[in-house]
Symmetry: C2
Subunit: 467 residues, 2 copies
């Protein structure tokens, strides 16, 4: 089982910090049980380890004040965005303060000429894109959930658009952050590139709050493409679908999204969304470009699909038809859960070189069947990244143990294929043991960085680094 061992609590320090924060923040310090539970880790199978208090900050200076107090008393600080992470990132194994950044939700400046935007960390992805739409701009990273941009940076989020636009690491120009001693730093300004020393932005991106609290982000934007075209195509096997994807990417088609649903997922969405898709592996695609460009891209893909026995190829450019066509993907999570009414979903992901993806998905299918687990799979297949949604009976310890055995096996299998145990779900508590296996000695140097920047281990302790 994942290691969510409780860590030693500093009761005296916690009491002192709560008292001082109460004076400073008044009713923006909350200690009620339900709000604390909601700020512990609630979105996964991992046990909820609740913080001792929740404080709502409204400025970088307030974040700095909170961190300084916690540093002074050696009390944990756990940054909180929207709570949509999946691997125990928000648990408080040593108690401490949940630092809720959702009220830092200002879009501070849009620089349309420079294609960048400056936001506070509590701004959500959808809020930002709604704000930008009238200016013909968008921010491309879409991890599914309407997560906060600070959280997306802290967990190095990606999602369906990553095959074309990259992940959070590729779309952040610079960060402002509060470090473990309360110092406010900036990693740069608005230059599109820089070679000014160590890449502190990239170090903070994916650090899951263990090195500092992100308090402002300067993000790279994209122009909304002149035209968008969506397509779908069914394939006899996952292997045929993956071959078509590889050919598409080698061909240089700048596909914006290319998503795989396995046969079980297609069955689930047929039932859930009243569709009549062939119950075989399905690819869903989106192309961005000029009117002529997206037609050409989709046509070339259609030709490639045919080579690999693709069938029922459909493409459309109208918004309504596109949404209908992508419905299968949007509903995949809830459709998956509906395969086993009353179940609890446990979502995991790995990422492998695309040449190994079909094999990895096939082995995962066989392993799940061997263990008697139901696990629809969907993938950001252009990146070699896929998710298995294990459908478990709540409270069933035997199934939980089988699930754990599956997770272990899947991580090891991905690692053995020159992949990673976590493509986009991060490490949190749940994947620390796998990261240790994947990176070995490298984690010793990660620990050295953690100790150097946070000597008292107050920044989101018990995450990423094995204690």
């Amino acid at each position: 089982m994942a290691d969510i061992t409780t860590l030693p609590r500093n009761e005296v320090g916690i009491a002192a910090v709560i008292s001082a924060l109460g004076d400073l923040f008044q009713d923006r310090l909350q200690t009620g049980q339900s709000i604390r539970e909601q700020h512990g880790h609630t979105t996964t199978w991992l046990e909820n380890q609740i913080p001792d208090a929740v404080v709502f900050a409204r400025s970088t200076e307030e974040v700095s004040a909170v961190v300084k107090l916690c540093a002074q008393h050696k009390v944990p600080v756990i940054p909180f965005g929207t709570g949509s992470s999946l691997e125990g990132h928000l648990n408080a194994p040593a108690g401490g303060i949940s630092l809720d950044l959702s009220q830092m939700d200002q879009i501070k400046a849009v620089h349309a000429e420079d294609l960048d935007v400056v936001v506070q960390p509590g701004v959500t992805r959808e809020q930002l894109n709604t704000h930008l739409r009238d200016q013909g701009l968008f921010f491309p990273i879409d991890p599914g959930a309407n997560a906060s941009l600070g959280g997306m940076a802290a967990t190095r989020a990606s999602g369906t658009n990553a095959v074309r636009y990259g992940t959070m690491k590729d779309n952040i120009l610079s960060l402002e952050a509060v470090m473990a001693d309360g110092t406010i730093i900036r990693t740069g300004a608005r230059a599109k590139k820089s070679s000014a020393g160590y890449d502190m932005a990239r170090l903070l991106i994916g650090s899951e709050g263990t090195l500092g609290v992100i308090t402002e982000l300067t993000l790279r934007l994209q122009g909304i493409p002149e035209a968008t075209r969506s397509a779908r195509c069914s394939f006899p096997t996952v292997e045929a679908a993956c071959q078509a994807v590889m050919m598409t990417i080698q061909y240089g088609i700048p596909v914006a999204r290319i998503e795989l649903l396995d046969a079980l997922s297609v069955r689930a969405v047929n039932g859930y969304s009243k569709l009549a898709l062939p119950e075989t592996p399905l690819l869903l695609l989106e192309f961005h470009g000029s009117e002529a460009g997206v037609l050409e891209q989709a046509d070339v893909f259609g030709g490639i699909a045919e080579e690999f026995e693709g069938s029922d190829f459909t493409a459309t450019s109208t918004a309504e038809e596109r949404n209908k066509l992508w419905q299968a993907r949007h509903d995949a999570y809830w459709a998956g859960l509906s395969l086993r009414p009353g179940c609890q979903g446990l979502s995991t992901d790995v990422c492998v070189p695309i040449s190994r993806l079909a094999e990895c998905v096939g082995l995962a299918r066989a392993k799940a069947e061997e263990l008697g687990l139901m696990a629809p799979m969907v993938g950001h297949v252009g990146d070699g990244n896929f998710h298995a949604l294990l459908l478990l009976e709540p409270g069933n310890r035997d199934e939980q143990a089988l699930a754990d055995s599956f997770l272990n096996w899947l991580a090891d299998t991905a690692i053995s294929m020159e992949g990673t145990c976590t493509g986009e779900h991060g490490v949190g508590q749940g994947k620390r043991v796998y990261v240790q296996r994947e990176l070995g000695e490298t984690t010793r140097f990660m620990s050295a960085i953690k100790s150097a920047l946070d000597p008292d281990n107050i920044m989101n302790p018990g995450k990423i680094i094995q204690d």
Copy 2:
């Protein structure tokens, strides 16, 4: 003047290391004056501080052995690729060992299906692209010089293609490196993305050998585009050219290169390369895509250029014509030097938000004139990055002082425009003082990382971090 202060030498340690390396490496350890001078910093105006010996490694294990010996005796190790860096990256202010990696020049595996390649650090950019050509693949980063890929990673190189393909930070999947205690680490494998803890690859990229020696790189490749089209267009002012560039990028045209030459640079290439270009600011462009796509891209750009008083718009897709069209850019450096026969060139760069670029170039032109310096400028204008080539009389201290005053002013001006004092030239010795001004408190955390990973300061000391 730039701070290249000599640091204290550990004479006993250096002698011990040279003796032990002689036993291990035989004639692959060299201590002759000329080879040592060639491995100190020879490509710039900075004084050459030569290492005590040069050792040629042929494997990761040999690199580890060298670093372990140097760690044991607390002697500096300075990794060396091809010696094309510009800011004193290779100087040996405390003496020590130049670790030449040019014999680690094996291309270990090309994974065409996954669009990645595994190389040793001494492989050069041109060597790699020659090797890949038959497979229809290329590696897009082109800093001009035929640099080693290890060096390009260590300095976070970019260049003309960065506007479309990003910099080294965006094109490296993972690294193998030898850390300051001799430990060999891997930052990951071949997954296209990962969220497995701190981004150690991105930390090493741009660390200029101060945190570890890069011994293997897994690089992301691109398919050679079906078609390439080049274009050029003259503009009445730098501002008009920059306006056209901004519109082009906002329009979502995926331009692969977009380079600016100022009027002085155009005059220089006209003389040097016997061209007859209008002696006004010039944009050179390259488009990658399908046959139809590149035609469309170039046409749309042509329309935009017209809006901003562009003239002499020319576009072509044949290789020979394209080369002719780009000749002005390829010759810009030598052409610039020819403006003042016998001069020494001092190349510097900054990067600003593109909306400030015309202003920054204009101010730099005025400043150079005020100081009586001749300084043709060229820019990777899609990124807001430009270079000024100061043409100085060798040995003229007064001019050197004026140049230094220009460099200081340019760094401060770029910083004041929310840009950076170094877009792609790195920090080395020459830009430490500017990075300190640009990033302030942030550099304290860079120092903390340096101390944590290299407590004895043996890895390329005196670079990036102010001692």
